[in-house]
Amino acid sequence: MTTTDAQATETMFTAGELYDRVLSGEPLFILDVRNADEYKRMRVEGHRNLESVNIPYFEFIEDEDGMCARVPADREVLVICAKEGSSQYVAGLLQERGIKAGYLQGGFVSWGNFYDVREVVSADWGTIVQIARPARGDLSFALVSDGKAALIDPLRHIDVYQQALADAGAELTHIFDTHVHADHISGGPALSQASGAPYYVHAYDAIHPIDMLPATIAYTSMEDGQQFSVGQITITAIWYPGHTLGQMNYLATAPDGGRYLFTGDGIFLRSFGRPDLGGRGEAWTPMLYDSMFRRLPPYLTAETMILPAHFSTIDEDAGGGIFAEPYSTLLTHNDALRPRTLEEFSAFVLSHLPVFPPEYVEIKRVNIGLSTPTEEQASELELGKNICALAE
């Protein structure tokens, strides 16, 4: 590149800085210069103030002036490409024309693999930490008390969890998946192998629902109502079939009476988990209805914090980047949870089903050991945001 002067003024954003901007809701103009199909599959999303436009970088190479004229001259522009090089190149072209342009360090790859770690609660009995992968809307949690730790729904990049536990000075004693996930590759089995801590998932989820083949990974099943101790925290496993046959909710109770319900793909803040990803939507919908309206309510109080495994949009941020809120608050804006008859519920599910991403069948295979992807194949499988919730 010949634009040495312009280069000196391009701002580089890290994925963490981008996430702070996204959460803040400050206006942001994103120029995404990847291919149209990559953009369609997944892009940086935020609040209403985040404006995003897709003009592939080769269009800038083909017609510099014409394309630069399509970018607003009076806005701060963040250019994003797949790996960084092209966004820096395009940001340089914009800078030459007096447009304030920055680019994302590491490109979309670094955004897709960015993890955000923050405390949900910190008390004398311990802490609950939310570990999010914002690009995909994936949420996982660490529960730490008296030097012991449990993980719930850990994601694929296990070093993030190993680091978080090392920072907390805690020994990993339990790894829980709420269910065998379809949208992302679990870090549970690998963390179990690395640490020796048992990996818990319900046996009903250890059979692939489409292939009808059993898991080859090591796992420990559990009973409805079974309890576990992690330091001063008690964890109760609650069977909640519907999204999968073996979906569990985990209720953590603290000595101060605090109640934290990890719902996985059961209840979300604005929706609930779809019952069709096992390919048996019709049979599983009444079961989900029973879980939602009969099995779970005895465990719920108005103050019980609901901590799901996903968000669908950044608007679900309950404040400070935490995607969790008390049950009573959730009820005020989650129309999906409104009481319905089974017939109304089934109709509601059918009318709110999003597309069924074809790679979800393969991801379930990976999660029970029936298929072992390379790193490149694993990232390919995890492209795209989770589509585990019913549409709003």
């Binding site: 291919n35 199909d37 080769f58 269009e59 190479i61 083909e62 490409c81 790996k83 090089g85 092209s86």
Partner: protein
């Protein structure tokens, strides 16, 4: 392998350079001539396809993946059409 008039070696070059250099090299071809581009950037396959759709005078004749000493080479054949 298709026949070609000029060849461009962009092995090791990262996005956007394979395309920037190809654009320049196409400008030096006569209309109807074919450029062979040898790249190691896997993303070049989709990018050249997108570019050919957008550009007014570039047509893809073929794209091949060739293994060369354990490294994948992505070889593109592009014709200047106008």
């Amino acid at each position: 392998m298709s026949s070609f008039d000029q060849t461009l070696d962009v092995k090791g070059a990262k996005c956007p350079m394979p395309l920037v250099k190809s654009r320049k090299a196409m400008g030096d071809l006569a209309v109807g001539q074919v450029l062979q581009v040898v790249a190691t950037d896997r993303g070049s396959i989709a990018d050249f396809q997108g570019w050919a759709k957008t550009a007014k005078n570039v047509e893809i004749i073929s794209q091949e993946t060739v293994e060369d000493g354990g490294v994948n080479l992505y070889v593109h054949y592009l014709r200047r059409t106008a």
